[in-house]
């Protein structure tokens, strides 16, 4: 039996808590529509200006997971190259404000947790990134904690 080196390297530990560069995206009405069409969600709140105007939202808003299409700015990757395979492990979202066409959303990410586990695919490195979405009014719109599985 050989002793395998830990997957959580000092580089990964040092990367925990370091913020990515911010990246600002303008939310386009067409992008919301294309996202709603891609997930095949016919909710009129996402595409129908008349129905959305009459709703409590007062206008078109984006589906809850639309923010997946807005990436944060670059961050240094501390992960070793031999972990070449990856899977999305899951997401936890908290929502505070609606996302509307014309919003400018600034996204920052940071690694908040790293753990190691052995599963059906062998040894896995689990990295949890926290993404924060802030609109042009300085309001926190949503927080996503996303776990990436590397193996």
């Amino acid at each position: 039996m050989s002793i395998q080196p830990p997957l959580i390297t000092p580089e990964i530990r040092q990367a925990i808590g370091v913020e990515s560069e911010p990246r600002t995206h303008e939310v386009e009405k067409g992008a919301i529509r294309r996202f709603a069409e891609a997930i095949e969600d016919p909710n009129p709140l996402y595409t129908d200006e008349v129905a959305a105007r009459r709703s409590p939202y007062g206008g078109i808003t984006a589906p809850p997971t639309f923010l997946r299409s807005l990436a944060p700015g670059p961050a240094p990757s501390p992960v070793r190259a031999e972990l070449g395979r990856r899977l999305d492990g899951g997401s936890e979202w908290e929502y505070f404000e609606p996302v509307r066409p014309g919003d400018r959303i600034t996204v920052t990410g940071r690694l908040v947790d790293a753990s190691e586990r052995t599963g059906s695919v062998g040894r896995m490195l689990l990295l949890t990134n926290e993404l924060r979405y802030v609109n042009q009014f300085g309001q926190l719109v949503a927080v996503q904690r996303n776990t990436l599985i590397l193996y």
Partner: protein
């Protein structure tokens, strides 16, 4: 469709099931989702690449399943409720061509300040009836005790 009004908090009971949502994802939907979300990882549209990664073939984006579970909840709460939290873990892979059923059950009702909250377990079943993805959602609903507020 979410054009109906939200259920009132008082009318929701713990243990009640959310109306199920059936989804039939295709390879075309995976390509559209890749484009709409910006997630171009090849395991979602390139069969040879996916098989070289040890997968049976192309698989659904976890975040697409997250979007399905979001729709399950937003269809239920309509325009009058608000999604506050949504989480899910992708525990088994799902493949295009399968019929997926999103389900949910109310687990807890609570009040937090002026908010009337409902927590649900949500999950996704594949065509064999296996749970592949699960998590929870928290929504706020209108109350018969409070006048309607705009979001």
């Amino acid at each position: 469709m979410a054009s109906h009004n939200a259920p009132y908090w008082e009318d929701v009971r713990e243990g009640a099931e959310l109306p199920p949502l059936v989804k039939r994802p295709t390879t075309q939907q995976l390509v559209r989702y890749a484009g709409a979300s910006g997630d171009y990882y090849q395991v979602h549209y390139d069969t040879a690449f996916a098989q070289a990664q040890g997968l049976p073939g192309v698989i659904l984006h976890g975040a697409l399943k997250n979007a399905f579970l979001g729709q399950l909840v937003t269809d239920w709460i309509g325009a009058g409720g608000r999604l506050k939290r949504l989480s899910c873990q992708y525990r088994k892979m799902d493949v295009p061509g399968d019929t997926l059923t999103c389900r949910g059950v109310v687990t807890k009702k609570s009040r937090q300040g002026a908010l009337y909250l409902v927590k649900c377990d949500v999950w996704l079943e594949n065509g064999k009836g296996e749970k592949t993805t699960w998590g929870s959602a928290t929504v706020s609903l209108p109350s018969r005790a409070e006048p309607p507020r705009s979001p």
